[in-house]
């Protein structure tokens, strides 16, 4: 199946990995990966989260120095010890999170870190602006180099960052999720620029979840699954379906838990919280969503698709620019998270740091959301302790000692504490962002069981995740979010992971 690509002129590949393996604490993250990048090639890299793309790129970028196998650049063996080595060897990376400085000008951003100096040791401004203008124009862009970076749309900021990487002399350019924040015309412009760069004889690695984008721009596509490279093929010979089946493994569709599910959306159940075409003025555009009592609604999408914003808009953290929320049919606007909590909305954010107090005991972490229900004025530590102990038993938090410092619990147990604080008085709506990410199997199963039990007790639950398995394991209905818009909704019938990946 895999085809061997040779440079037409017989030169060695620009970058070649042979039998590269990498493990973390005995767990293999990357197994015997071979990879080639040629001059004048755009090489797409796809795979699910945790498939090994990032690990591979971090080895190339010099972040991980202890790996097995061999890396060659222009045929010469290399082993980077640091990001600096990688940079010196001509490897440049543009991250999903831009590292531009919004308060500096475009030209200053291009020359960030190595401004040319005059012979008096002052910054040579005319030269900076002149050369930045030349560089930007050579990419076919029309940007005034003295514009403040922050004033540009994100698509142009990204192109400025790309020109900085080019200016630094990089011959191998790694783009991580470059299209996730871009509108279709911006994607088109990025592709034009990439084709120009390709024509200059550089090599580009294009990492993305957006398979349409990958297939459109790439010459070659490599697909990762479970730490292995499963295929490298000419993009022209691939279809989106073929890529997806490589990503998730042909034989396994519908065979394992979380690979597929049968949805059971029930329109007869009452709508508790409804979002009516809400927009946050940034990412979310006209998102409509109905959370029903006794149902789990899943929202799937890639990182940066707007889930994080959606959860916060529903919990009163982000103010809506347009649209409205309705709770039990009555229009509501939550001016603060306290207001949302008062209306019976509960939220467990995706990051433990955002919801827990590491240096406080477990019982204070649990009681924080219900203090006004336990106490009027004076604290009643005994009542708090009792409630916390009950929750700890219910949720099998180990050890079940409410006086332990939260920071001394394991990650999975901390996650349970974050859930526990909302369960003393059942909320009407429970919003869970990435409820099982990074958990070990046992804790994951506990959380799934708890969430399903809450659903059966009539709570309207919203689960937002970038992991299709989480959605497929939990959801009764699914909305797929793509760049801030609801791209597709599923409420009945059997859906597979491939359906989610194809819709996102």
């Amino acid at each position: 199946m895999n085809i061997q690509l040779m440079s037409g002129d017989g030169l060695p590949p620009l970058l070649k990995l042979s039998n590269v393996s990498k493990s973390f604490g005995g767990i293999a993250a990357l197994k015997d990966v071979d990879f080639e990048l040629h001059t004048g090639e755009i090489h797409g890299l796809v795979g699910e989260n945790g498939a090994g793309k990032s690990t591979t790129m971090k080895i190339i970028a010099g972040v991980y120095a202890d790996y097995e196998g061999e890396m060659r650049i222009d045929g010469a063996p290399m082993h980077f010890r640091s990001a600096r080595d990688s940079l010196a060897a001509g490897i440049g990376m543009v991250h999903q999170e831009l590292s531009t400085v919004p308060d500096l000008t475009v030209a200053e951003n291009v020359f960030l870190g190595h401004q040319p100096l005059t012979r008096f040791g002052t910054v040579d401004w005319p030269r900076i602006n002149r050369e930045a203008a030349r560089l930007i124009a050579s990419l076919g862009l029309d940007i005034d180099p003295t514009t403040r970076m922050g004033a540009l749309p994100v698509g142009l900021q990204q192109l400025v960052e790309l020109s900085r990487v080019l200016f630094s002399g990089a011959r191998i350019i790694i783009l991580d999720e470059p299209t996730s924040a871009l509108s279709p015309p911006e994607v088109k412009r990025l592709f034009e620029v990439l084709r120009k760069i390709r024509a200059e004889g550089r090599g580009i690695i294009f990492i993305s979840h957006f398979l349409d984008d990958v297939l459109e721009i790439s010459d070659t596509v490599t697909i990762f699954r479970n730490g292995r490279k499963v295929a490298t093929e000419r993009a022209a010979a691939l279809t989106k379906d073929a890529v997806i089946s490589h990503m998730i493994g042909r034989g396994s569709i519908g065979m394992h838990m979380g690979e597929s599910t049968t949805l059971a959306g029930d329109e007869a159940k009452p709508v508790v919280l409804e979002a009516r075409s809400i927009s946050d003025g940034k990412l979310l555009r006209d998102v409509s969503l109905r959370l029903r009592a006794g149902e789990i609604t899943g929202v799937y999408g890639f990182m940066g698709c707007g889930q994080i914003e959606l959860a916060r808009a529903l919990f009163g953290k982000i103010r809506l620019k347009r649209g409205q929320l309705a709770l039990d049919g009555a229009t509501r606007s939550f001016k603060s998270t306290a207001a949302a909590r008062g209306q019976g909305i509960a939220f467990v954010p995706e990051n433990r740091r955002m919801m827990l107090f590491r240096t406080e005991p477990v019982f204070k972490n649990i009681s924080i959301a219900i203090l006004d229900r336990i106490h009027r004025l004076w604290l009643k530590p005994r009542a708090e302790n009792k409630i916390a102990a009950t929750r700890a038993t219910d949720l099998q938090i180990r050890p079940p000692n409410p006086n332990m410092l939260l920071g001394s619990l394991s990650g999975g147990n901390q996650q349970k504490v974050g859930l526990a604080k909302w369960l003393t008085h059942l909320p009407k709506v429970l919003i869970l962002s990435e409820p099982t990410r990074g958990m070990d199997v046992g804790a994951k199963e506990d959380v799934i069981r708890i969430v399903k039990a809450l659903r059966d007790r009539g709570v309207a639950i919203l689960v937002l995740s970038t992991e299709p398995e989480t959605i497929l394991t939990l959801a009764d209905r699914v909305s797929v979010l793509r760049k801030g818009i609801v791209a597709k909704e599923f409420s009945h019938g059997t859906i597979h992971k491939a359906d989610l990946l194809a819709a996102a």
Partner: protein, 335 residues
């Protein structure tokens, strides 16, 4: 046997690093008391300790409010200026002797006191509005309020000195009960109530949680803006009351007479071990901090040290307290 010993040793270590911010100030206080007792025979006497308590009583009232502010990881730089402005306000509302040439507005004592308290409240509400509603960092907002309060002081006294206050204020500021100055009694009352509210009420818990992790507090449905706004108001009211008592304590109300109180109050809170990053510490720490500063100031007078050197020594003590404060925080976060 050995394993349990090692275990209990490491538990002791965790406990000590945990308590560093509480233990260090107590040892500092003991060391200072021992040093000055040996260096000067007049130091360790009941009379002198009553002096010390009296000297720190005004600072203590200010420090109670400031402790609340610092526990939420904010700061209030306007405390001394607000105390000054409010102290002058109470004089402004009181009939002054003929030789004081101020165009003021004499009112009956009780009304004067109420209006003056409302002035303090107004300062607090403006600060709270700026910090929570507009989103100005408290560091800058209270700097502006400091200047505004100084402006109010200047306009009300116009370079003059006022001497008269309502009787009740004169009594609290300069009188005694059973040989104990009223300011000490008021300070103890403030420290006591401040401690109870922080430790045993829901509001106090919210303050600690907001200071410990503001984001987590907000995502737990705590109204953090309300909490932060409240502590700014509490701080201004404490400063105002301290200011009212202080003008009677000093015997005069004039511009710039509170200049040393800003640094003293901040130093008391920080030297006591309340974390500048919020969420750790409390009134107990502030009491120790106040005593350290009080003993230091008073003790240095007893050992006949160059008065210019005193200023330097106070600075050095504050610096070492800051180092311990930041170091304790780092230890706390590392395990």
């Amino acid at each position: 046997m050995e394993a349990t010993q090692i275990q209990s040793l490491s538990r002791l270590k965790v406990f000590l690093t945990d308590q560093l911010r509480n233990i260090a100030p107590v040892f500092t206080l003991l060391a200072l008391i021992i040093f000055f007792s040996i260096a000067s025979p007049s130091f360790l006497t009941t009379v002198n300790f009553m002096n010390i308590f009296s000297q720190i009583s005004i600072t203590a009232i200010i420090a109670v409010g400031l402790t609340y502010v610092i526990l939420t990881a904010e700061i209030d730089l306007s405390v001394a200026a607000v105390a000054n402005a409010v102290g002058i306000t109470i004089a402004y509302f009181t009939m002054q002797p003929d030789y004081v040439n101020i165009a003021n507005l004499p009112l009956p004592g009780i009304i004067a006191i109420v209006l003056t308290l409302l002035t303090a409240l107004a300062f607090g509400l403006i600060t709270a509005f700026g910090v929570t509603w507009i989103g100005i960092p408290s560091f800058i907002m209270t700097l502006a309020i400091m200047q505004i309060a100084n402006g109010v002081s200047a306009l009300l006294v116009r370079g003059q000195i006022a001497y008269s206050y309502p009787e009740f204020i004169t009594m609290l500021g300069s009188g005694s009960i059973f040989g104990i100055r009223w300011t000490i009694v008021v300070a103890i009352l403030f420290l006591g109530i401040g401690h109870l509210a922080l430790t045993y009420t829901r509001f106090g818990r919210y303050i600690y949680m907001t200071g410990g992790n503001r984001e987590a507090a907000e995502y737990s449905g705590v109204n953090v803006k309300l909490i932060i706004g409240s502590v700014m108001v509490i701080s201004a009211v404490c400063s105002g009351i301290a200011g009212m008592l202080a003008v009677a304590y000093f015997g005069s109300a004039q511009q710039n007479q509170f200049d040393s109180y800003l640094l003293d109050a901040i130093a008391a809170v920080v030297v006591g071990g309340t974390s500048l990053f919020g969420g750790r510490g409390g009134i107990g720490n502030t009491i120790i901090g106040l005593l350290v500063l009080g003993v230091l100031n008073n003790g240095l007078d007893h050992v006949q040290i160059d008065s210019f050197l005193k200023i330097l020594i106070r600075g050095l003590i504050l610096l070492s307290a800051l180092i311990i404060n930041v170091y304790a925080q780092r230890l706390k976060e590392s395990h």
